[in-house]
């Protein structure tokens, strides 16, 4: 009963205005995205349809009925796209294609850019701030529901690779940052949480490690500010870099999961790049955040905190720090892998998993609205001095090393198949 009581935070009504704001912001942005997508599809259809019709005629002339049938499906899709906007072949909607395809200005980018602009120009009244703070964690149920996209072979392959990569990157970064921090004369508190934050999962790891290493609130503000600043910069820069370098969807997903330190930001970057990228990023991130309890234990060992009156035993730490929502994610993967008729699958029309597959995006949208509206330039200014230098060095190193690794691994090992 006490656990149930703990679920309801006293004064919970203060979260309602901000949460509603994020919901409205998300719905408006998804609608704009929908319009851009519709007109972009029509623009591409208008240009592509004459070519497809010519190909279809050629294939029919030579008697290739299979080839003609395949082209006919594409023709039907293009004609439907034109019908949706009431257009015809020859019409152009270049403005939509410019924003949506060329500039990749989709719902993720819109929520972040407009959110940051609103927060740092007109501002957000204080009444909305608590609710904006709890909108961000709505990405977690989105991640759980995304479990219907995967089967266990994906987890073993991509997740296995992810676990190895994550372990190497996490402990390598954490050890390096903690060692450099000590050499630079940074306090154990700040060094410990910078090591955890730049190694594992940004803000979650900082919050988990802070009490263990005795970090001061000012240290936490510096560390969180640095992580958020670099997360925000990489979130905007990496999708364009990934396109310029020619990364595949799954390579980008792995790269974002290794280089961006905050779950919400890395999922935003991957979703921005593409759905396949997001699927890979979520799996590798799941491997990474499961290591949070271990990095806390490592911090205890590194700073010699055993026996300082804190119970930092292995199982106590695991119980306290393990991100239990990930169990829901894996449970849905298991159910999807069993192909039970009662649940169906994401491609089985009228089945529960087919219905759930369209819900996660809305939870992500509300979460991204929360991220955009919560990024304040003032918070980022808190990342000053040594913390900034250590954080920037670690962030850039991880970005470069992560890129090298995903280029070497290639696409197939990182691709989520969903059982197909």
């Amino acid at each position: 009963m006490s656990v149930l009581r703990s679920l309801i935070v006293p004064g919970w009504t203060k979260y309602i205005p901000g949460l509603l704001l994020c919901v409205v912001f998300a719905i408006l942005t998804m609608n704009i995205d929908h319009v851009l997508h519709r007109y972009t599809a029509a623009h591409l259809a208008s240009a592509g349809l004459p070519v497809l019709l010519a190909q279809h005629a050629e294939l029919e002339a030579i008697g290739d009925s299979d080839g003609a049938a395949r082209i006919q499906k594409k023709i039907d899709k293009h004609e439907a796209a034109l019908q949706k906007v009431g257009g015809s072949v020859g019409d152009e909607w270049g403005w939509a294609a410019f924003f949506y395809e060329t500039f990749q200005f989709k719902y993720v980018a819109m929520l972040l850019v407009f959110g940051i602009l609103i927060r740092n120009t007109v501002g957000v009244p204080k009444i909305f701030l608590p609710g904006i703070g709890i909108a961000r964690p709505l990405i977690k149920p989105g991640i759980i529901i995304l479990g219907v996209h995967y089967v266990w072979t994906d987890v073993l392959r991509v997740g296995g690779v992810g676990l190895v990569l994550a372990s190497v990157f996490i402990f390598g970064t954490a050890i390096t940052v903690m060692w450099i921090s000590r050499r630079a004369g940074v306090s154990d508190g700040l060094g410990g949480i910078m090591g955890a934050g730049t190694g594992v999962c940004g803000v979650s790891a900082i919050i988990a490690t802070a009490p263990v290493v005795g970090a001061k609130p000012r240290d936490m503000a510096y560390a969180i500010g640095t992580i958020l600043l670099f997360g925000t910069v990489m979130l905007f820069v990496m999708p364009y870099l990934g396109t310029a370098i020619g990364l595949s969807q799954s390579q980008f997903g792995a790269w974002s999961a290794l280089a961006i330190l905050n779950t919400a930001q890395l999922i935003a970057a991957a979703e921005w790049f593409g759905e396949e990228a997001r699927d890979t990023a979520v799996l590798i991130n799941a491997a990474r955040i499961m290591l949070i309890p271990l990095i806390v234990m490592f911090a205890v060992w590194f700073y010699g905190l055993k026996g300082k009156g804190r119970d930092a035993g292995f199982w106590a730490t695991m119980r306290a720090k393990f991100p239990i929502f990930i169990l829901g994610f894996f449970a849905l993967i298991l159910l999807n892998s069993l192909h039970l008729p009662i649940f169906g699958g994401p491609k089985v029309v009228d089945s529960p998993f087919w219905a759930m597959d369209v819900v996660y995006k809305w939870l992500f949208a509300i979460g991204f609205a929360g991220i955009g509206l919560s990024i304040s330039i003032d918070d980022m200014r808190k990342a000053g001095g040594v913390a900034f230098l250590i954080g920037s060095g670690a962030a850039i190193a991880k970005m470069i090393l992560g890129l090298v690794v995903v280029l070497l691994l290639g696409t197939e090992l990182l691709r989520v198949t969903g059982g197909l």
């Binding site: 006490s2 656990v3 703990s6 679920l7 935070v9 719905i27 998804m30 609608n31 704009i32 929908h34 319009v35 709890i134 964690p137 709505l138 977690k140 149920p141 991640i143 759980i144 529901i145 979650s204 919050i207 988990a208 306290a320 991100p323 239990i324 929502f325 169990l327 829901g328 849905l332 009662i342 649940f343 169906g344 009228d350 089945s351 529960p352 998993f353 087919w354 219905a355 759930m356 369209v358 819900v359 995006k361 809305w362 939870l363």
Partner: protein, 59 residues
């Protein structure tokens, strides 16, 4: 001053252990929300799909 009875320090530590951290609270709510979505999807998959795929788009 009389020392407190054995039950007093136990109650105090019990109270500390009963409160959830905000991360744990978020995780449990995430599981609850996902379960609610699963339950609704099992009861009315077509309605759920239609609402989120078409109903929320007004432009």
């Amino acid at each position: 001053m009389e020392s407190s009875t054995n039950t007093e320090p136990d109650k105090g530590s019990e109270r500390k252990e009963q409160g959830l951290s905000s991360a744990k609270r978020e995780d449990i709510w995430a599981l609850i929300i996902a379960l609610v979505v699963l339950a609704l999807a099992m009861l009315a998959p077509d309605a759920i799909h239609s609402f989120f795929e078409k109903g929320l788009y007004f432009l």
